[in-house]
Symmetry: D3
Subunit: 237 residues, 6 copies
Amino acid sequence: MRPSGRAPDEMRAITIETGFTKHAEGSCLVSFGDTRVLCTASIEERIPPWLRGKGEGWVTGEYSMLPRSTHTRSSREAARGKQSGRTQEIQRLIGRSLRAVVDLKKLGERQITLDCDVIQADGGTRTASISGAWVALRLAVNGLIEAGSLTEDPITGQVAAISCGIFEGTPVLDLDYPEDSSAEADANFVLIEGGQIAEVQATAEGATYDEEGLLRLLRLARIGCDEIFAAQRDAVK
Amino acid sequence: MRPSGRAPDEMRAITIETGFTKHAEGSCLVSFGDTRVLCTASIEERIPPWLRGKGEGWVTGEYSMLPRSTHTRSSREAARGKQSGRTQEIQRLIGRSLRAVVDLKKLGERQITLDCDVIQADGGTRTASISGAWVALRLAVNGLIEAGSLTEDPITGQVAAISCGIFEGTPVLDLDYPEDSSAEADANFVLIEGGQIAEVQATAEGATYDEEGLLRLLRLARIGCDEIFAAQRDAVK
Amino acid sequence: MRPSGRAPDEMRAITIETGFTKHAEGSCLVSFGDTRVLCTASIEERIPPWLRGKGEGWVTGEYSMLPRSTHTRSSREAARGKQSGRTQEIQRLIGRSLRAVVDLKKLGERQITLDCDVIQADGGTRTASISGAWVALRLAVNGLIEAGSLTEDPITGQVAAISCGIFEGTPVLDLDYPEDSSAEADANFVLIEGGQIAEVQATAEGATYDEEGLLRLLRLARIGCDEIFAAQRDAVK
Amino acid sequence: MRPSGRAPDEMRAITIETGFTKHAEGSCLVSFGDTRVLCTASIEERIPPWLRGKGEGWVTGEYSMLPRSTHTRSSREAARGKQSGRTQEIQRLIGRSLRAVVDLKKLGERQITLDCDVIQADGGTRTASISGAWVALRLAVNGLIEAGSLTEDPITGQVAAISCGIFEGTPVLDLDYPEDSSAEADANFVLIEGGQIAEVQATAEGATYDEEGLLRLLRLARIGCDEIFAAQRDAVK
Amino acid sequence: MRPSGRAPDEMRAITIETGFTKHAEGSCLVSFGDTRVLCTASIEERIPPWLRGKGEGWVTGEYSMLPRSTHTRSSREAARGKQSGRTQEIQRLIGRSLRAVVDLKKLGERQITLDCDVIQADGGTRTASISGAWVALRLAVNGLIEAGSLTEDPITGQVAAISCGIFEGTPVLDLDYPEDSSAEADANFVLIEGGQIAEVQATAEGATYDEEGLLRLLRLARIGCDEIFAAQRDAVK
Amino acid sequence: MRPSGRAPDEMRAITIETGFTKHAEGSCLVSFGDTRVLCTASIEERIPPWLRGKGEGWVTGEYSMLPRSTHTRSSREAARGKQSGRTQEIQRLIGRSLRAVVDLKKLGERQITLDCDVIQADGGTRTASISGAWVALRLAVNGLIEAGSLTEDPITGQVAAISCGIFEGTPVLDLDYPEDSSAEADANFVLIEGGQIAEVQATAEGATYDEEGLLRLLRLARIGCDEIFAAQRDAVK
C-alpha cells in the first residue's frame, strides 16, 4: 500500500492555474498534489552569442527551489554563490525537454526562458516543472502569434513528464516525497503527446532493475502523461 | 493625480493569505495591490557561531526577487554567483526591522529566518516583505508557545513598513511602480505599533527635500502603517 | 557624559589634507578625530554601458576598510572573494550622495569614481567618506574646468554627511566608536549646503525613537554639517 | 554506414592499462578507440560530515576534461571559477554508478574518490570513465583486502557503461565523436554484470524514439558491456 | 648521499614522447624520472583584447596538477572555485619563459596557449613543464610554417628549466620530491640555449645562501639544461 | 642617464614613519621616493589549522594596491571577486621573506599577519613592502616582549628587499616606474643583514642576461639593502 492510499497507477490531483503572474508572457502555477511550481515563460528578442547569424531561436530552462519549499530550510543558492549540481542537471533537462517540441527555425531569432520556481516540494518537482513549463511556453507563443510576430506555430506538440518508481517492490506512478525518499528505483520519463519518448532518466541507487521493470515503469508513465496532456489542453484553452 | 487614481494618502488593497506553504513554521502571501511576496518563517534550533553561549536567539531575513517578478526578466542571482548590493541591503533591513520587536533573550537559543521571495513586483517590495514577515514570525512563535517550547512571548509588538514619496510635487503614500520610477524623492519607514520609529531610509536622488517634507512623509507613513497593523492583526487571529 | 568629554553638539576635530596622492585627479585624506579616510576621484573618459548614447556622465563610489583599520583585524574582502553587504550598502550611499550635487548632463560622457579607503576607523567612516569625497570630486572637476574640458560647472553645491545618535539617553553629534557601539539609535544624515536633505538613514536596533527624537538628531546634524561645509571650502580654496 | 566503417554492433578497441600512475591506490588509463581517460581511485580514512556515526563509507566521482582533450581548446574550469553543469552531471553519474556495486557498510568508515580525467576525447568519455573507474576501484579495494584493512569484499559485482544512439536511422553501439555530434538520439546505459540495469539516460534532442527504439539500444548496450566486463576482468587479474 | 643514489650533478632520466594527444597542434609527455607532465600547444587565431591592433601575437601558459598526481589527493581547483597562488605563480612563469624565445611580431596576430597538466608529480613539475612546453610550441610552430601560415620562424632559440638546491649541505641538480621537501634552499633556473639566463627564482625558506652558493647552483643548472636542450632537439627532429 | 637623474647605484629617498595607525600592534608608512606603502603587523592568538599542536607560530603577508595608487585606476580586487596572480605571488613572497628571519618555535602559538597596502605606486612596491613589513613586525614583537608574552626574541635578524635592473644597457639600483616599465631585465633581491641571500627573483621578459649581469645586479642590491637596514634600525630605535 502507498502511504497516500493511492492505487499504483493513480496520479495525484493535477491543477494548472494560468496567468499566475502578470509580467511574464506566459505563466502558470502547476500543482501535482502538494508539489507546487510557478512556471513563467519570458520572451527576449535576443539570442545566445553562439546562435548568432543562424536564423534560429533558443528555448532554455532555469530551476530553483525556494529555501523553505522543503521540510527543512535549505540555504539559498544565491547566498552560497553557486547553483548545485542537482539544480544544473534539472535545468538542463527542462531546456532539452521543451526544445524537443519546438522548431527553433520557426521560432526566429528570439529566446524563451522557462523559469521554474518551486514554491512547495512534495516529490516530482522536476517533472511538474516540465509539464507546467509547456503551458507557459504555449501561452507565450500564442501571444506572439496573436501579435503577428509569428506566422507559423513553432510548437510541434505537447511534452509532459512524470516520475515512476519501485516502492516496496511495486511499480508506482507519480511518487510523492515519502515514496521518493525510500523507493528502490526511480525513473523520470519525458514523453511527447502521441507516444514518442523524449527522455528517460532511470536511476537505481543501491538497487537495480531489469528490462521488464523498465518497461513496466514506462507503461505507468504513459498513463500519467496522458492525464497531464489533458490537463495541459484544458489549461491553455 | 496619481496614475492609479488613488488619493495621496490612499493605500493599495492589502491582503494577507496565511498558511500559503505547508512546510514553514509560519508563512503568508502578502499583497499590496499587484506586489506579492511570499514570506516564510523557519525555526532552527541552532544559532550563528558568534552568538554561542550568550543564551540568546537570532532573527534574520533573506530576500529575493523571482527572475520574472518584474517587467523584464532579470538574471537569477544564483546563476550570476552573487547577490546584488540592493538584495543585501534589503535583507539586512528586514532582519533589523523584525529584531526591533523581538526580545532575543526570551527567544532562547534558536534562529528564525524570514525568507521574503517576491512573486510579483509593482513597487514597495521591501516594505511588503517586512509587513508580511511579521505575520510569518508571529505564526511561527505562536507555534512555539503552543508546543510549550516557549513560556514567555518574545515578540514585543507589531512592526510594519511602507514607502512614501514625492510624486509630481505631491507627497503620496504607498508608491506603486509607475510612481516609484519617477518620484523625486522616496522614503521607506519602518514603524512600531504605538508610534515609535524603527527605521527611516529617505533618499533623494537628484532632488532633495526639507524638514517639513520629511515630516509630511512620516505622517503619511503613520496612516499607512495603521492600516497594515490592522491587516496583520486580522491575519493572525 | 560622552566618553571623549565632548559636549553633545560638539564635533571631533576635522582636518582635510588635499593632494594626498599624486596620481588621482583629486584626492584628500579626511580626518574626523581618529577616523581617517583616503578619498580619491578618478576621471575616466568612458561611461557604464546602460548610459551610452544619453549624453550624460556618471558619478559612483567605492568603499573599503583596510584589514587593520579596526581594533581587531578583519579578513580582506578580496581574499574572501566578495564584498560584504555593509560595504555594498555604504558604497551605494556614497554614490547617491555625490550624485545629489552633480548635474550629470553638464558632466558630459565621462565617469568619476570616488574611492574611499578607510586607513583608520573610529566611528563615522561612511559619513567621513562622503564629506571627503566631495572635496576630491571638487578638485577633480576643477581640473577639468582648468583644462578646458568643461565649460560649465556640473557641481551644483556642497554635500556633507554626519552621524548622530542617542547615547545614554542623550542625542549626540558625530559618534565615535565607543559611542557608536553602545548607542540606542543611530542616524546618518546627508545634507546639502543651504539646508536641503539628500538622505536620512535612521536605524534603531533594539530601541526605537519618536518624531521628536528624529528631529533633534536632524538639528544636531545641521550643526555638524555646517562645520564640515566650512572645512570643505577651506580645503578646496 | 558508420564513418569509422564499424558494424552497427561493433565496439571500438578497448584497452585498459593498469598502474598508470604510482601514487593512487588504484589507477588505469582506459581507451575506447581514441577516447582516453585516466581513472584513479584514492582512499581516504575519513567520510563526509553527513555520514558520520553511521558506520558506513562513501564512494564518489569527479570528472574533468583537460583543456585540449577536444578538437578546439576549452577554457579551464579552474580558471573560470566553476564547474559546468555538464561536468557536475557526469560526476554525479559516475558516483551513483559505482555505488550501485559497493556495499557501503562493508567498506567501513572510509571514502574512495574516483577521479576521471579525460586526456583525449572522441565521444563516450563519461561511459569510458565509469568503465575505467570500476577497474581503479577494484584495484584499490584489493589493496585494502591484501593489507588486512578489510576482511569482507565490499564490491558486489562489476559495473560498466556504454553509449548507443540512432545514427542516420540505424541504432549503433559505442558512438564516436563524428557519430555523437550528429546522432538523432543518444542513450547512456550503466549495466551490472549479470544483466541488471543501474542507470539509463536516454535523450532525444530534436528527434524522439519509441519503446522499440529504446529496447534496441538497450540490447546493443548489453553486447557492448559484455565486452567491457571481459576487458575489466582481464585488467584486474 | 642523495636518496636516489644519484651523483650531485646527475639528472634523472629524461624522456619526451611527442604527439601524445591528437587534437593539439603540438604535444608531448615529458618525464623527468617519475615526474610526468602532459604539455600541449593550442593555436588560436585571436589575441587578448589589450593586444589588438598592435600586429603582435601572444604566448601564454596554464598549469594544473591532477588531483591524484601527488602522494595524497588534493582537492580539484575547479571544485574549490579558484586557482591557488602557487598555480598562478607557476603559470605566469611558464608564459614568461616561453615568451623569452619568441618574437611576438613574427608570430602574427595569433595566440598559443601552453597547457601543462601534471599527470604524476615527483618534484620539479614547473621546470619539467617549461622544458616540455618548448617542445610542444616548437611542433605547433613547425605546423604553421609547413602550412605556409608563417614565412619566418618566430622562435629565436631553445629554453629549458631545471631546479637545483642545497640538500644536506651539498648543492645538487634536479631535485626529486624527497630532496625537495627537505632541501635547505631551492632554486629554479630558466636558461636559454647558448648560455643566457631568462629567469632565476632562488628561495631560502628558513635557511639562506651566499653569492658563492647561488653561483654553484647556477653552474649545476647549466649542466642540467644542456642535457635538456639535447633531449628537446632529439624530440623535435 | 636615468630619467630621475640618479646615479646608477643611487637609491631614492627612504623614509619610514612608524606608528602610522593606532590599532595595529606595529605599523609604518614606508616611502621609497613616491612609492608609499602602509605596513601593519597584526598579532592573533591563533594559528592556521595545519600548524596546530606543533608548538609553533606563523608569519604571513597580504598585499593590495589601492585602486588609484597607480597612474590609471585599476578595478578593486574585492569587486572583481578574486585576487590577481600578481597579488598572490607578491603576498607569498612577503610571507616567505619575513619568515626567513623569524624562529617560529620561539614565536609560540600565535600568528602575525603583515598587511602591505600600497597608497601610491611608483615602482618597487613589493620590495618596499618587505622592507617596511620588517619594521612593523619588529615593533609588534617588541610589544610582546615588553608585555612579557615572549621571553626570547624570535626575530633572528633584519631582512630587506630592493629591485635592480638593466636600464638602457646599464645596471641600476632601485627602479622607479619609468625605469621599471622599460627595463630589459628586472630582479628583486631579498637580503639578510650580514650578507646572506633569502630570495632572488630575476626575470628577463624579452631580453636575457648572463652570469656577470646577475652578479652586478646582486652587488647593487647589497648597496641598496645596506641603506635600508640603516633606515630600519633608525625607525625602530
